[in-house]
């Protein structure tokens, strides 16, 4: 019972009755049930929707402005892109240029492409790129020459895009599939090998252009073609100037949607795994802990490969959890370290083993980690369990595993749920920090009162101008922090790097540590200084450290530092965003007064602090703060003399 034809009919019925725009938030659940053909068909219906109608019905829909250009016809990409974005709850506001106009589109500041104000520009390089300029007859040397010219052209166009596209926009290039009908035009095996090598070098050079901070991403198409996607249809190329096959464009669109999601910071944080049939062969309750590892079965190796995939994800910051219908004690024994077991109980930050519903289990795991259920990916080989989680955990991604463990890794990785622009050191240590947090919470449960618990933590906070190696992490915080985000403004690495380099602008990194460990960069402040004082444009603090008074210490410290720097006032603002209602009162609580701004009703609140009456920095926090590299550090002694405040 796949339910697929039914879901396809549902999408068509919504279109026929004119209710597709109204049903937009339901699409991720519906589209999750469609196969490639179903998605292709749904994409053509969705592409006919006016994005304005969707936004009118659901103003909170996350819209992505994307411009598509390319070396040949690219119009076929839009329906595929529309449906792939819709699968992730995103709405495409698309623009596609004329056929083959990528050089003009990207080089001309007045082009329609830039008029579209894209946050993502897809420059689709089809398999004929380079070849269309190679003279005939040719030797590998001629191809190398044209490939190098193409690389230089793309580097120039990337520079133009950085200059003319909106700040923070990303240009997406791709590697070029090498077609057999070109390699085999060389009859000399040596020359054919030479061509293969130089082509790979060209693609490698393209891949090395990838730089999230500079706004360049490169999609590697080779893994897609290696998985069996045919790159081109020579007939469509010859007669219709369409040099990518429909299948390649569909796969490209899938990857581009993952990229759009990752650039938005919409990355899942936790992988919740079933055990029987997912992590190991056999059924624990029937086979017992000693046998489920499946060491004797032929399929054991396939499960082992899947566990290594999971271990690899965990090494980059994906939190692992188990949700299993089993008794806890045998689960603990089966998860205990074995010589042939890539994952041990210590690798999981949460293990729910009981006979309750998995929907409740997933909710319990998310609550325990302090994350939303929508930040969870749930993988299970049972249709029933998947449906129960789909129905009750809104936004959670559900990975369909089946009875073939050799395919588990492909299913898990199909949607790039954990993709980020760049993995940071903080990511790699995330699981350990969650364990530190659990130790902290156990200690808090044992402490007499919260104040004494906080005093006992020995919290140290350092606030200082961001250095270049902090940029990726600060971008990640800006993109992913929802709760403590004063204005909801999202900044990518390129924008932050530019701000950090501007002497008039302020980008401060907030580091925190306590006796249980170093949390690394946990927040950031953005702003600028002028004659009117210090303007705090935004402040973000990771929800991981909220409730320890760190945010209070940082803002109080900033006010003290503003006084020391002789500034007349500090200005701040709060604007409503997805989940930041709780910080509405943050500025007033620190002595800021609302400032009336005519005509700005409903657009948040602007504040001003005259610096006349300052709160002390909470005494349990040892704070070191400095506004610029040349200014003196606000020493902890200065603040420790202050009276302790309640939190």
């Amino acid at each position: 019972m796949s339910g697929r034809p039914e879901a396809q009919q549902d999408v068509r019925a919504l279109y026929d009755t004119g209710s597709l725009a109204g049903a937009y938030p339901r699409l991720p659940a519906l589209l999750a049930r469609l196969d490639d053909d179903g998605l292709d068909s749904a994409g053509r219906l969705l592409a006919r929707l006016d994005p304005a109608d969707v936004l009118a019905a659901h103003p909170d829909t996350s819209a992505v402005r994307i411009a598509v250009t390319g070396r040949s016809t690219t119009a076929g990409l839009l329906p595929a892109l529309t449906v792939q974005l819709a699968r992730h709850g995103l709405l495409l506001i698309g623009h596609t240029g004329g056929s083959g106009s990528y050089v003009q589109d990207l080089a001309d500041p007045a082009s329609e492409l830039y008029a579209h104000r894209p946050e993502l520009t897809l420059c689709v390089l089809d398999p004929l790129t380079v070849w269309d300029r190679v003279p005939s007859p040719w030797q590998p040397y001629d191809v190398a020459l044209e490939a190098e010219r193409q690389r230089l052209l793309l580097a120039e166009l990337a520079g133009a895009h950085a200059a003319h596209a909106p700040a923070g926009a990303t240009l997406v290039l791709n590697t070029l599939p090498l077609l057999r009908r070109f390699t085999h035009q060389q009859t000399g095996l040596l020359q054919r090998a030479e061509l293969g090598a130089l082509w790979r070098e060209f693609n490698a050079d393209l891949l090395r252009m990838a730089d999230p901070a500079a706004g360049i991403a490169v999609l590697d198409l080779e893994p897609l073609t290696a998985a069996g996607v045919r790159a081109d249809d020579p007939r469509l190329g010859a007669y219709a100037d369409a040099h990518c096959s429909a299948a390649l464009l569909a796969s490209y669109a899938r990857e581009a949607a993952h990229l759009a999601r990752a650039l938005r910071g919409d990355t899942k944080k936790c992988l919740v795994l079933d055990l029987d049939g997912t992590l190991w062969d056999g059924i624990l309750a029937e086979d017992g802990p000693a046998r489920v590892r499946g060491a004797t079965s032929l399929r054991a190796g396939a499960f082992g490969a899947f566990r290594r995939t999971v271990e690899q994800l965990a090494s980059q910051g994906v939190l692992l959890a188990v949700c299993s219908k089993n008794d806890p004690e045998p689960v603990a024994r089966a998860l205990a370290a074995h010589p042939d077991w890539p994952l041990s109980a210590d690798d999981f930050v949460s293990i729910v083993a009981d006979w309750g519903s998995k929907a409740e289990g997933v909710a319990q795991i998310a609550a325990g980690l302090g994350i939303a259920p929508s930040a969870v990916v749930f993988a299970d080989d049972s249709l029933f369990e998947r449906e129960s989680v789909r129905a009750t955990a809104p936004g959670a991604a559900v990975v369909e595993l089946d009875a073939e463990p050799a395919l588990h890794s492909e299913h898990l990785l199909a949607d790039g749920w954990f993709d980020v622009p760049s993995v940071t050191e903080e990511d790699r240590g995330r699981a350990e920090r969650y364990r530190e947090r659990q130790r902290r919470e156990r200690r808090q449960a044992g402490a007499k009162d919260y104040d004494s618990f906080l005093r006992d933590l020995g919290i140290e906070v350092a606030v200082a101008p961001a250095e270049s190696h902090h940029i990726a992490r600060i971008a990640q915080l800006s993109l992913r922090t929802n709760r403590f985000n004063l204005t909801g403004e999202r900044l990518g690495a390129a924008q932050i790097e530019r701000m950090a380099a501007d002497p008039d602008t302020l980008v401060l990194a907030v580091r925190a540590a306590d006796r249980y460990g170093d949390d690394g960069i946990v927040g950031a402040l953005f702003g600028h200084r002028d004659a009117a004082g210090l303007h705090l444009a935004n402040m973000v603090i990771s929800c991981r450290v909220l409730g320890r008074g760190i945010e209070d210490a940082v803002l109080d410290g900033l006010l003290h530092a503003a006084v020391d720097a002789g500034l007349p006032a500090v200005h701040a603002q709060w604007r409503p965003a997805a989940a930041n209602a709780a910080v509405r009162g943050f500025c007033p609580a620190h002595g800021f007064r609302a400032v009336a701004v005519p005509g700005k009703q409903g657009d948040g609140v602007r504040y001003r602090h005259t610096l006349a009456d300052l709160r002390p920095v909470p005494a349990h926090v040892r704070l070191r703060l400095r506004l610029s590299p040349t200014e003196p550090v606000l020493e902890p002694q200065e603040v420790e003399e202050c009276t302790p405040s309640s939190i």
């Binding site: 053909d37 292709d40 053509r44 219906l45 119009a75 329906p79 007939r235 469509l236 219709a240």
Partner: protein, 75 residues
């Protein structure tokens, strides 16, 4: 695939168009729901449906759905 109506049904099902049998002989340019990109997709769909290749050049020269039918399946 016996008549041009079958082709129209195939297009409506997979391309998301809302073509009527009466559209078979109208110029493609006059069909509000038709897009030249559809023709490329239709090539793949028809070949899968028929289990054999079709002449892409002939299909691309077709002015009506009836022409496409003739090019792909033959009179």
């Amino acid at each position: 695939m016996h008549t041009v109506v079958d082709l129209i049904t195939l297009a409506n099902e997979y391309l998301g168009t809302d073509l009527e049998p009466a559209d078979a002989e109208r110029d493609l340019a006059e069909l509000a729901c038709w897009d030249s990109v559809y023709l490329l997709r239709l090539v793949t769909l028809l070949e899968r449906e028929l289990g054999r290749p079709v002449s892409v050049a002939d299909m691309l020269e077709a002015r009506t759905l009836g022409d496409i039918w003739t090019a792909a399946v033959g009179p």
